[in-house]
Symmetry: C4
Subunit: 229 residues, 4 copies
């Protein structure tokens, strides 16, 4: 708690650009509760928890890449099975520097939605709609709307998530003010993560002398075979 307080304090002292308020112990709580909330199912080997979190007065925003999963087909080929995404998790504040993880809401940005975020300029805004039960009988019953709107003075953005649930008759809204510095971290980190959530970091060069490299000489995807048809 000391650290967070210290950072919030230095935050007040900061000139123009607030400093990071992420806190080791908060991360601990966050990820520990995540472990619990899944009935132990999340205990995956080498699972790494390294969210980038922005803690503000009324809500916190935590961002973390979710990598794709692959499945095998043919003789040892891998195919993207479940696409990756950037997972945004919003938590409401329930006191000074306390956030209710049980009341969290998530929004998963696809690769192209990440492209929108990366290409958002100082004056731009963007908005996405997701419908969990689309095409089912419950279509339109639950609607999630993520919007990113610039501050009037260009000092950052408001990142808002609203979740309207017509079944439970509930409406939840989270708004987290994000500074230019924090948004730059998001853009830079998302640019880094994008090829990873696309699975491009798994592309490997065949080593000389291996079967793979021999076969690759007749690889139909090799450039020269562009000429085949």
């Amino acid at each position: 708690m000391m650290k967070l307080s210290r950072f919030l304090n230095s935050n007040r002292n900061a000139v123009g650009k607030p400093t990071d308020v992420r806190d080791g112990s908060a991360l601990h709580a966050l990820t520990f509760q995540a472990g619990i909330s899944t009935g132990g199912k999340s205990s995956i080997q080498d699972r790494v928890f390294a969210p980038y979190s922005v803690f503000k007065g009324k809500a916190a925003l935590s961002v973390e890449p979710v990598l794709p999963t692959f499945s095998k087909f043919g003789s040892g080929n891998l195919r993207v099975d479940r696409r990756g995404s950037m997972m945004l998790t919003f938590l409401p504040a329930i006191g000074e520097r306390k956030y209710d993880y049980e009341k969290r809401q998530k929004f998963a940005l696809s690769a192209t939605e990440v492209g929108s975020l990366i290409s958002t300029g100082p004056k731009d805004s963007c908005e996405f709609f997701h419908d969990p039960s689309m095409l089912s009988s419950n279509a339109g019953q639950v609607r999630k709307n993520l919007s990113i709107k610039p501050h009037a003075d260009g000092s950052g953005y408001f990142v808002s998530l609203s979740v309207v649930n017509n079944i439970l008759k509930t409406t939840e809204r989270f708004t987290v003010p994000v500074t230019t510095a924090e948004f730059t971290v998001l853009k830079t980190a998302c640019s880094f993560a994008l090829p990873h959530i696309m699975g491009w970091d798994r592309l490997t060069t065949p080593l000389p002398g291996t079967l793979a490299s021999k076969l690759s000489k007749v690889d139909p995807q090799m450039p020269d075979l562009e000429w085949d048809k």
Copy 2:
């Protein structure tokens, strides 16, 4: 199919920036057919299929890096054997959300052509010509022309491929509208992939105490040896 529908639907709902319409099952079909279409030749170990695909009304565009291959020479040196590229695959639509993989056409962007794509601004356009049978008796018989032209309102680009085959007396043309968000994904992913298709990700630092590091002290390419002549 559900997922794609859902995304297309959310696509209609999207404000300003469409969301990703890539679909796991479509990827499946795409790569599975790819596996078939090569008579099994493509069954390379650890071959990864992770194309970034844009599905639109009249055609789909699928982009994937093709890494270089290396060959050995001297005592354990590696040299780029076949240069890498960014492979663009166009597929014509043959129904709602159905694309004919057999009628695909490919265009392989070289490193420098990728440089053109990356440096293409919101108002810029670029165009490339490839001739598969150049310098042969069939020179000019088959011509491929890829063009990237910006939308009038700056909301994205038209990516078009035309293939004129004077032998078969055929002309094929594919046009895929690409949003700013989708083009940002292409630029970001291509910037990530560029050093890989150039083979620069394979450059390795000699470890201390190894023969390599000892020899590297007299490596003719080391900076100080710039002074040799």
Copy 3:
């Protein structure tokens, strides 16, 4: 010493943009003293010293990423234990090309502060305050202030650190003029380092057929599970 002299010399010859004045032997001294100054505690296996250093007339600035540490929890999960940072080390000059490592002062930029640095334009300035003893009885006794201010002619920045210690009644101030080229190196290297100090380079894709990938099908963080609530 020859090299440094040579570079300083070529520096004088340079037109518009000075060249790098980093020096192998200076690095040697710097890191060797670092090894000593910690009573051997810093002798960590595979510890790599590769600071980017800018040597100027009155002071030197050395920048190096400090990676996060992880701790285990649950069954094999990893959690960021100590967050990473970009460590700036200032050294006062005590003669021509001589710097006093014992009088060094450090300033650790958090991920968000790195975001500020990366988003600093040619005309922008930014400033950070740290208080080591915040919330303790000594709060406000020692104040560190890092400022980055652009040159009037846009040819670079002044990077200054002031340390006011009311207990020791001391005030130290370091100012290092940084050229646009040197600042570009800092921005580019910090953009590269940012995901690493965030721990995102440790995120791994579950391999097909492993327990991890099976469990990941029910991973609460997977995109589709965005829809769970």
Copy 4:
């Protein structure tokens, strides 16, 4: 040779932006001769040759990163021994698509000089001077001058190297016109390579439970220890 011809041909066809003229066989010759020209000394294990080459009418420019070497000190620590660089190699043309490797001249860009190149805008130019025998009795006898000047129409740059040798009474000058696309490849690839020539790609995170991670708790470079003095 076919490929190169083909590319040169498509080059003539290109609209606005020329395509890559790099050629597998040319690379072969280039690297093979490199192997020879060093009396076999360059036969380092896992040495990879993957230059990015621009072949033009009067000269060719080949660019390749040279990674740093490390030496051990203390108990298993690594220190940058020889700094990395971007090595530019110029070759004069001695016929159509023929270049004289024996008459090559090299220029090694330091990290900061790479920073200059990366920050060079469409209208900017930059210039560097190196003196191999600086501070020796031969100081000023051999002077190397690399300049990058923009085309008047902003379509690219002229990259020129002049080498004046007052001892041999020789003056050599190479000028290679580089298109915007080719320069974008250089900037993108140099941005990728920069952290590698700085040795930052070798920084590693201590694994939990290892001696390293235990020691890192008292690592003098850890952020919190910024507060120590």
